[in-house]
């Protein structure tokens, strides 16, 4: 008989949701997390508030995890790093280093939920001087400042008077190799713009963009309030480079609706960095023999109608390890992955009386 345990790799929102789903259905979930905490990027990178509802990240994550933490059906393995896998559907053997010791776990099916990493804007193809200028930040850097309620210029500790966001950094770019849209950055920039306006009302906020991509309700829940209520200025046109001028940053670009060049001084610049597959995602693809797309995200096989099945029977993938995903996408895919993983181990069994 197939092993009916489901092994979930990665304790971010997708992994948590999948583990909860399996436990709620009365099966056993083994949740493997390399850190000593759950919560994935939102926790590790100290997101101040979630997009789109601006709810406090820690509070929202705690609420999500609470029903799972003392559930006997969920076996959480912290500080555990998967190092290899063998076996096949119904009978996987997964090796890991757990607290310095080699361990092996068995499971009937596996859900990979190893997520993404933020694009590094210091790469050589980048022109924004992320590592040269203290006041050039990424969205994740800005999250930390907002979380601490200390939104100041890193260079001198002063409260900024003018800041801007530059969209699509590391996304939609053939030269960088990331041709895809990272999907969440427009929303997160707008969310942060709102938070900046809340925390530093005197600070003017600009967002330079190619297209604003605010899907579904993000349009009216973030984009419109940012502009209408918080008076964030959206300017169509990208900044091309950043030059230091005195203690300011000179942002140079083209204002495309005015069809005029712009050279404007800013106190801080926030780069809306996109998503790339995490190291863990690439390693899991290798260990389990999962097909990856040209960007090294795990490729799912069912097109738009099956967002979690992989080329390996019994191995499913959920969340941002399959490509740019927001929280809503990630938890939705996780629920689907839990259902399909359980179905795969139960398939041959008669319906329970």
């Amino acid at each position: 008989m197939a092993n009916q345990n489901i092994l979930i790799i990665g304790g971010g929102v997708a992994g948590i949701e999948a583990a909860k789903g399996i436990a709620d259905l009365g099966y056993k979930a083994i949740l493997v997390e390399k850190r000593d905490r759950l919560g994935g990027n939102p926790d590790e990178q100290q997101y101040a508030a979630l997009t789109p509802d601006l709810r406090d990240t820690q509070e929202a994550l705690d609420e999500m995890m609470a029903p799972m933490l003392n559930n006997p059906n969920v076996d959480i393995r912290y500080n555990t790093l998967v190092t290899g896998a063998s076996g096949s559907a119904g009978n996987f053997k997964v090796k890991a280093i757990s607290a310095g010791k080699e361990v092996e776990m068995e499971a009937g099916a596996v859900i990979v939920a190893t997520g993404f990493t933020h694009f590094d804007p210091g790469r050589e193809t980048q022109k924004y001087g992320y590592y040269e200028h203290d006041d050039v930040l990424t969205l994740t850097d800005a999250e930390k400042l907002l979380k601490a309620h200390k939104f100041v210029r890193p260079s001198n500790g002063e409260v900024p008077k003018r800041i801007c966001f530059i969209q699509c950094v590391g996304s939609r770019d053939r030269q960088i190799g990331n041709e895809y849209c990272s999907k969440v950055c427009c929303g997160i920039s707008s969310k942060q713009a709102i938070e900046v306006r809340q925390q530093v009302p005197g600070c003017k906020v600009f967002i330079f963009y190619i297209d604003m991509r605010m899907y579904g309700y993000w349009e009216n829940e973030i984009y419109w309030p940012a502009q209408e209520k918080y008076k964030v200025n959206y300017v169509k046109g990208m900044a091309t480079e950043i030059v230091k001028r005195g203690d300011k940053l000179l942002v140079k670009g083209e204002d495309t609706t005015m069809r005029r060049p712009m050279e404007v001084e800013m106190d801080m610049v926030i780069l809306a960095v996109g998503m790339e597959p995490s190291e863990g995602t690439k390693l899991m693809a290798e260990y389990f023999g999962l097909k990856q797309n040209k960007y090294n995200f795990i490729e799912t096989t069912g097109g738009p109608l099956d967002t979690v099945s992989t080329n390996v029977p019994g191995v499913f993938a959920a969340g941002a390890c399959t490509g740019p995903a927001d929280l809503e996408d990630s938890v939705s895919a996780a629920g689907l992955a839990a259902m399909k993983a359980l179905a795969s181990v139960r398939k041959s069994q008669p319906v329970l009386a």
Partner: protein, 419 residues
């Protein structure tokens, strides 16, 4: 660097620090690089009650192709928004006075950027600061002093009745309530061609046996266009005056000649205590057309101009057309821009009194643009039902060289012609 010729400005004279520069020094270049987004001007607008939506523009640009002023110049909410982000002070800029509040932009705006509220709010501030084009200021003063924008004598407001050929009941004299109070309004009461239509309407009322009365010399301008041009104080004072008369004469239903009055009475007067129903004369006449006995067939091809404040603003598109098509012989040919898409004559929102000012900003008047469109339909007659239009369009027929090709007639004039 190659010179972009469109960026060159030739000044007639240039004085720099007190020294007049001669010869080629008068060639200036417009600064091309944007060095600052000074959004204080935008914030000043959006902080104003009523003008908040100026900040809602997400630059889709749908307003521009339907903005009448952009057809003859460079204008529209999307462009104003960008200029505001770039430091424009709308409160002192000429752009403040170009909008005719025709509402075509709001009709297509997904974000509901509402120039119908933004313009009067910002203009009110400009009026208080005294930053008003001279010709408009004169109209405000005339209205204040004489009760009408032309500065005609208040006492002569009902002089047109003398030549009406029928008795016109005046409320002060008849001393009894009537079914319908006819609010004649300024242009129909004073303007030469306006009075032609006014008298025709009085004669048609007689034929129909309409129980009505006019306010005569007691009536004062409804002031809607002055309100939209920023004179809120004047508007409120006049609204109270007219509402006082309506109350005094126990008026339940008002018939207006002027769609601008219709707009004021329906949307603004209730805020000041007005409790009465208002209809436009075409709405009144349309169902009664079958009661009129026509004796003549008019051999006219007619095109009809939807007034902004009757159609888009107040939703009446059918009544004027029903009046026209009930006239024997008339063939109605629609212009491309008709009904909801109708093109403004340029008279609304204070535009009626800003032709001199606008001449410096546009390639042709809106009324001229509209007359060209009317002529292109092959119509002999441009039918109208807003008192601003007869003078605007008759002037435009002349200035576009179409005299003899196109007649401008009020719908009531056409009705009477066939009786």
């Amino acid at each position: 660097m190659p010179v972009d010729k469109s960026q060159i400005i030739e000044k007639e004279s240039v004085t720099v620090e007190g020294i007049e520069l001669s010869a080629n020094w008068n060639r200036m270049f417009e600064q091309r690089v944007i060095f600052d987004y000074d959004t204080d001007g935008l914030d000043k607008v959006t902080d104003l009650a009523g003008a908040e939506s100026m900040g809602w523009c997400y630059q889709c640009g749908q307003c521009i192709p339907v903005c009448p002023v952009d057809q003859v110049g460079e204008y529209g909410p999307q462009k104003i928004f960008r200029k505001l982000q770039l430091g424009l002070d709308l409160f002192t800029d000429d752009d403040l006075w170009k909008c005719t509040t025709c509402m075509n932009c709001l009709r297509v705006c997904p974000k509901e950027v509402d120039m119908i509220k933004i313009m009067p709010a910002v203009r009110e501030e400009a009026v208080m600061e005294g930053n008003v084009p001279d010709e408009l200021q004169e109209v405000f003063e005339n209205t204040f002093e004489y009760g009408n924008p032309m500065g005609e004598s208040q006492r002569k407001r009902a002089d047109w009745v003398k030549d009406a050929g029928v008795e016109v009941p005046i409320m002060k004299e008849i001393k009894r309530p009537v079914d319908l109070l006819w609010f004649v309004e300024c242009y129909p009461a004073y303007h030469g061609r306006g009075k032609d239509a006014t008298r025709a309407l009085a004669r048609i009322f007689k034929l129909l046996g309409t129980d009505y009365g006019i306010l005569g010399a007691e009536e004062k301008c409804s002031c809607d266009s002055q309100r939209l041009a920023g004179e809120t104080g004047l508007f409120e004072e006049f609204a109270e005056h007219n509402i006082g008369l309506f109350n005094k004469y126990k008026v339940k239903k008002v018939l207006v000649t002027d769609p601008h009055a219709l707009n004021a009475f329906r949307k603004e007067y209730p805020k000041h205590g007005g409790k009465f129903e208002t209809i436009h004369y075409t709405t009144y006449l349309a169902p009664l057309m079958e009661k009129l006995t026509f004796t003549k067939k008019l051999d006219y091809k007619v095109t009809f101009h939807d007034p902004c404040y009757l159609g888009r603003h107040n939703g009446e598109f059918d009544a004027p057309r029903n009046c026209l098509t009930a006239i024997p012989g008339i063939e109605l040919i629609e212009m491309g821009r008709c009904r909801e898409q109708s093109f403004c004559c340029g008279g609304g929102g204070g535009g009626m009194w800003l032709d001199g000012f606008m001449a410096d900003h546009v390639s042709e008047r809106l009324s001229e643009n509209r007359v060209r469109e009317a002529v292109a339909t092959g119509a002999d007659v441009l039918a109208i039902c807003c008192p601003y239009e007869v003078s605007r369009f008759e002037d435009a027929v002349k200035s576009t060289g179409n005299e003899g090709k196109l007649l401008v007639k009020d719908i009531v004039e056409l009705i009477e012609e066939a009786l």
